[in-house]
C-alpha cells in the first residue's frame, strides 16, 4: 500500500466565489508546492474546468478527481466525482438541465469564467452557479451512482449549506460514499448527527477558494495506486485500504 495526500475540495476561478488567480495552471503549481498527490476539482454545480486540470496535472505528477460541488434542492452541498470524461460530460448535461436560469450578477457574486491553459477566458457562464439545482439530494444521489460516481456530503459541520444544517441529520437510507468535515472541525462534534452513518469514512479537505488555502486541510489515502477505483475502495476500507485524517 502507498500513502497519498489528497485535498478533494478545491474551487477554481469558475466558481463565482473562487479567486481570479485560481486558474488551472496556478492550482496545479500550488498543489505541487504543498505536496499533494491527489486533488479534487469541485466548482459549484459545474465540471467545466475538470478535464483541462486533469490533463495539465498529469505531467506534474498529480492525480485529479473530476467532479463538482453540487447544491441540492434542500441547499445541501455535496462533493461528486466521476471516473472518466464520458461520465463527467453526462453529469455536466444533468447539471445544466437542473440549474435554474437565474442570471449571475458579477458585481455581487463574482465572475464565472472558463479559461484555457494559457489563462485566456474562453467562456463565461450566464446563470448563477450558486443556485440550488431543482433535484432532491436523493435524486442527485441516484444520478451520481447510476454513472458509477462518488457522492460525499460536504463540510457537514458548517451552519449553512450542510446536510446537518438543512436536514437536521443524515437520512439513514441515503447512499453516501463518505462524509466531509471542514478544516478545523472536531470529529466528535458531528458524531451525534451521523445517525446510521457512523461507519462511513470521514475525509477532511480545504474547500479552497484562494490559492493560499490549497492543501491547508487534507486526507491521507492508503491504497495500491492512484485511480478513481482505488479511491472508491479506500473510502470503503476494502482489503487494508483506508483514509485517515489529522
Amino acid at each position: 500500500m502507498n500513502k497519498y495526500r489528497a485535498d478533494l475540495h478545491i474551487h477554481t476561478v469558475l466558481s463565482p466565489c473562487g479567486d481570479l488567480v485560481m486558474s488551472p495552471t496556478n492550482i496545479i503549481e500550488k498543489a505541487r508546492e504543498k505536496g499533494l498527490d491527489i486533488i479534487g476539482i469541485t466548482d459549484h454545480n459545474t465540471t467545466r474546468h475538470c478535464k483541462l486540470i486533469s490533463k495539465l496535472a498529469e505531467p506534474a505528477g498529480i492525480f485529479v478527481l473530476m467532479g463538482a460541488e453540487v447544491t441540492t434542492r434542500e441547499e445541501v452541498h455535496c462533493l461528486t466525482f466521476f471516473e472518466n470524461d464520458e461520465k463527467l460530460s453526462e453529469f455536466q448535461t444533468y447539471l445544466e438541465k437542473h440549474l435554474p436560469p437565474i442570471p449571475n450578477n458579477t458585481e455581487k457574486f463574482g465572475y464565472q469564467v472558463v479559461v484555457d491553459e494559457d489563462e485566456q477566458i474562453i467562456d463565461e457562464i450566464e446563470f448563477l452557479l450558486l443556485s440550488a439545482l431543482d433535484e432532491s439530494i436523493e435524486q442527485i444521489e441516484h444520478k451520481v451512482h447510476s454513472l458509477g460516481g462518488i457522492i460525499i456530503p460536504a463540510h457537514i459541520d458548517r451552519p449553512s449549506y450542510s446536510i446537518i444544517s438543512q436536514l437536521g441529520f443524515i437520512p439513514s437510507d441515503l447512499m453516501i460514499d463518505g462524509i466531509e468535515i471542514s478544516a478545523n472541525c472536531k470529529v466528535a462534534s458531528v458524531m451525534p448527527f451521523l445517525a446510521k452513518h457512523r461507519d462511513k469514512t470521514i475525509i477532511r479537505n480545504s474547500d479552497a477558494h484562494y490559492e493560499e488555502n490549497i492543501g491547508k486541510a487534507f486526507s491521507v489515502f492508503e491504497m495500491e495506486h492512484r485511480s478513481f477505483s482505488e479511491v472508491k475502495l479506500a473510502l470503503q476500507g476494502i482489503e487494508g485500504r483506508k483514509v485517515t485524517i489529522a
Binding site: S136, I137, E138, S165, Q166, L167, G168, F169
Partner: protein
C-alpha cells in the same frame, strides 16, 4: 384549537397523516432549516416550511409538532408523505408564501 379547525379557514389541502387532525395547536414555527426546527420548535406547534424532504416528518415527530404546512403549492416527496401517514402527522398544503400563511395562522391562534 385543533389542526382540523384551521383547514377550511386557511384553505389548506390535506396531503396525509389525517390521524393527527385532532392534535392540539399551541403555536407556530416558520423555518426551512431543519437543524433550527430541531433545536427551537416546541411541541404542539404547526411548522410552516417549503422543505419537502422526509426528514421533515422525522423532526416533526421527534419534536411532537401538531402538523406541517407546506407553502407555495409545494407537495411532499413520496417518501415524506409515506412517513407522515405512518406517523400520523398531518401534512397540509397552502398556495400562499410563508409570510402570508404565517400571518394568517398567527391571527387565528392568538385571537
Amino acid at each position: 384549537m385543533q389542526v382540523k379547525d384551521i383547514i377550511a379557514i386557511l384553505d389548506l389541502k390535506v396531503f396525509g397523516g389525517s390521524q393527527g387532525l385532532d392534535n392540539e395547536i399551541t403555536g407556530g414555527y416558520t423555518s426551512d432549516l431543519l437543524s433550527d426546527v430541531m433545536g427551537f420548535a416546541d411541541n404542539g406547534k404547526i411548522w410552516i416550511t417549503l422543505q419537502t424532504h422526509k426528514n421533515v416528518i422525522a423532526i416533526a415527530s421527534l419534536k411532537d409538532l401538531a402538523a406541517v404546512i407546506l407553502i407555495k403549492g409545494n407537495e411532499p416527496d413520496a417518501d415524506m408523505l409515506a412517513q407522515a401517514k405512518e406517523e400520523g402527522i398531518p401534512v397540509l398544503g397552502s398556495n400562499e408564501e410563508a409570510f402570508e400563511i404565517t400571518g394568517r395562522l398567527y391571527n387565528l391562534i392568538t385571537r
